[in-house]
Subunit: 263 residues, 4 copies
């Protein structure tokens, strides 16, 4: 005895003998060669085809997040490739698995923080003083709750993350500068008064603000960072294929290991 | 006592307090807003900035491979998201881990097969008859060795994969039609004589031929497919967020499970 | 120019040409054939060799958590094996990646909840009435905060999880029944008064209490569940090798897929 | 319209409101507290309950393979934990993903090599001279084909892997010394004549021979190594929780990174 199986609805890919449909479009006729990969990714994440302006801002964000050299995740991907070169998918997956709270979470944390403040505030301020007042209240509340303000500070770019003004400029150029970016800039202006020190608005944070202004679902901001990072990790795996360094990492650790008695 | 540590060379990302460099370019000034995400991915994989023509073919390939609906990997990603919605990186990684020999390997297998035949042949044929003769010899050798010819056949598109002619057309339009595609088309023409039945040239296979003609390293063809699939899998996770179906998959299996005595 | 590299301390494995040392023991001479795999796992997690009593309780917990049939994670592992049978590590990893908050997190959540209540209470109650009062306050506080009480309830074992009394009995038999189990049993007695309905103490929850009484670090309770699940997932992969079912899952979903227009 | 769903057979876990069944046993009544975790793993992999003798050899193999200090996979797991401490399943999965051909594949490669030689030989030799002759032919065939003999050689234990004699001794003690171990020992005796140099029989190789003599399916030898490694990786994650070193690995690489122009 078997029970009836439910239907499984989807708006993504389907196919029949002569056609492949993706997002309701004829993949071969209407998408391939006509839509960029970045556009498709935006479309898959939002179910809406981006305008050229939206694509430009979205892809600028992806570029800013794609690679940062020898991050822990890039090293983990290379070490995994060293161990299992026959399964490149494992090396890529290992790198993506570092996409958690600590290094890759800032974009989503910032987007959620800004969206939460805006949702609670209701109407958007009409001038800079209004934005500053809203930002001050939000930062003070985080401080009172013992929470950090996401998107502030950078270990290397202490005087300013070079990506931040570029994202803001492109958002203006493309007429996509919205309330999340406005609030984020206000955070940048007012936080020294409340926190007692001046921190840069970092690139991961401004990316969260821009993606939120673009309308990406907040639950998928970290997923968007992962897509960007996927390209960077493949760059690292490609470099590991051409000029390996993971074995040197391994030997450096192994040769400098010291045994410590467990009490 | 510690030993000196080696240097770790890279051509990817580096940074100092005011600048982020990626691939020797100033990320904020020269790449963001000026280079598409697909271009950057090509650049990371090959260390060469693609021309607009190369980008168009490369991105067309990525689009063709991004999603195929409810594949085993898409279902695995959704089930993982169901179990661990707090770790979206795990759902994406789980989906990518299905990128092995059986479903996602055809692109690389085809690229390697074609490149191997070309390398052994030395000079390229000068006319269609020459390509056909080369393809015939290669197919006969595979058959004699009991091996399948990669890139032939499709479970759904039995009369022809709609992506194949589009990739070939775009390669011609962009003046990027090279020996791998020429040999692959010859395989399509001559295989019925040797194999005794007519199979379509599939989209995964033509993608391998096109990527090889673009000059992508053969070791990274599967990696390129994984990048494309990354966008598709994020589309599935986004859809699972909006309209979940993984729990129905789970219940369908669980409710129709039957215990079988282990002998 | 290179900088000096730090030392990397470890209490786990080291080796020289004639000896392998693990946890300060001679692996070949003192561990292999003399220590069970479960004992070693406990030792690795806590840096303390378990007594036979501790081993028995620890391994009973592992057995209770090893497998639950066609869970989402088991299905994900099988689908990944279907797609990439050449990389069995990927199938196992995909299954483990479902070990997140929703299905596998209860053990750690329960352990942390109980440990938090005990830490706040300071001295342990001296009789059942004292434990009940402590449990009542803790449950009331969770309820007031809008939080669930972890370890309560089960979708199938509505009248009682058969694993729960066994873990409690073994803890008594081995003289390892401690404050976490005492508090957990009190939760079982008093929660109906506060929550207005009677729920079973589930096996994942009692496992968290028992592991906490054994002294396992709270940060590693989920890790312990993952070890147990690792054996279960390998059982599923072994079964998939012997008698595949993942392709039927895939076809069931794919054939009942229905396209829904995105808006 | 929906189609009927197939049944999904399993011999692993099932449950009803009052009972959990695993491998046809009542989990709570017959397994928990009575069966060790190693026994259960063997049972899950083979569908046969191991005898105490089989358990002892099986668990000795698991112990020998559990950890080797700062391997690339252990470092990858720790780096992933550093990046995403909230998702411990990702750190474990990242470590397991290095379980590929290069470092963890020897056990399965050796088991398959030995089983292949035995299958081809048909009847087993009756004395040492016969085993040696069989091993000589097999090694000569590998050499002629340009293939390495799996299970020979070790980067550290050049004069002999301390695990090898222990596994062989335990197999004798437990009356489980079978043809795979006999052939492997013969390989150890005769290879210098054919290969022109003397290499140790390594621990991974003898483990493959012992697991094959135990009757584990060859397709699951790598899976068995992964189970062993799972415990070791959790040991590394536990150590990373107690005394972190992954950030030092990251900084050591990052600070000694040098940019190299692409070309």
């Amino acid at each position: 005895m078997t029970r009836p199986v439910p239907e499984f609805p989807t708006s993504l890919g389907t196919s029949d003998p002569t056609t492949i449909t993706l997002l309701g479009q004829d993949l071969a006729r209407d998408l391939m060669g006509k839509v960029s990969f970045g556009e498709l990714a935006y479309w898959l994440l939002t179910l809406q085809r981006p305008t050229p302006r939206q694509s430009r801002l979205f892809e600028a964000v992806l570029l800013g997040l794609a690679d940062h050299g020898f991050t822990p995740t890039a090293i983990a991907a290379r070490l995994t490739y060293l161990s299992a070169p026959d399964a490149i998918q494992g090396a890529l997956a290992a790198g993506l698995l570092g996409g958690g709270s600590r290094f890759l979470g800032v974009t989503e944390d910032t987007g959620r923080f800004l969206a939460g403040v805006l949702a609670e505030a209701g109407e958007h301020p009409s001038d800079e003083a209004g934005w500053d007042a809203l930002a001050e209240r939000a930062i003070a509340a985080r401080k009172a709750a013992g929470l950090l303000v996401p998107g502030l500070g950078h270990p290397v770019h202490k005087e300013g993350d070079p990506r931040t003004p570029v994202i803001i400029r492109i958002a203006h150029e493309e007429d996509l500068y919205g309330p999340h970016l406005a609030l984020f800039e206000a955070v940048g202006r007012v936080h020294p008064r409340i926190l007692g020190r001046t921190l840069p608005l970092n690139g991961a944070g401004v990316s969260g603000a821009a993606l939120a202004d673009l309308g990406l679902p907040l639950e998928l901001l970290r997923g968007t960072v992962l897509l960007a990072r996927c390209a960077g990790l493949l760059g690292h795996i490609a470099e590991e294929v051409r000029r390996p360094m993971a074995n040197d990492v391994y030997l450096t650790v192994d040769r400098n290991a010291t045994y410590v008695d467990p009490e």
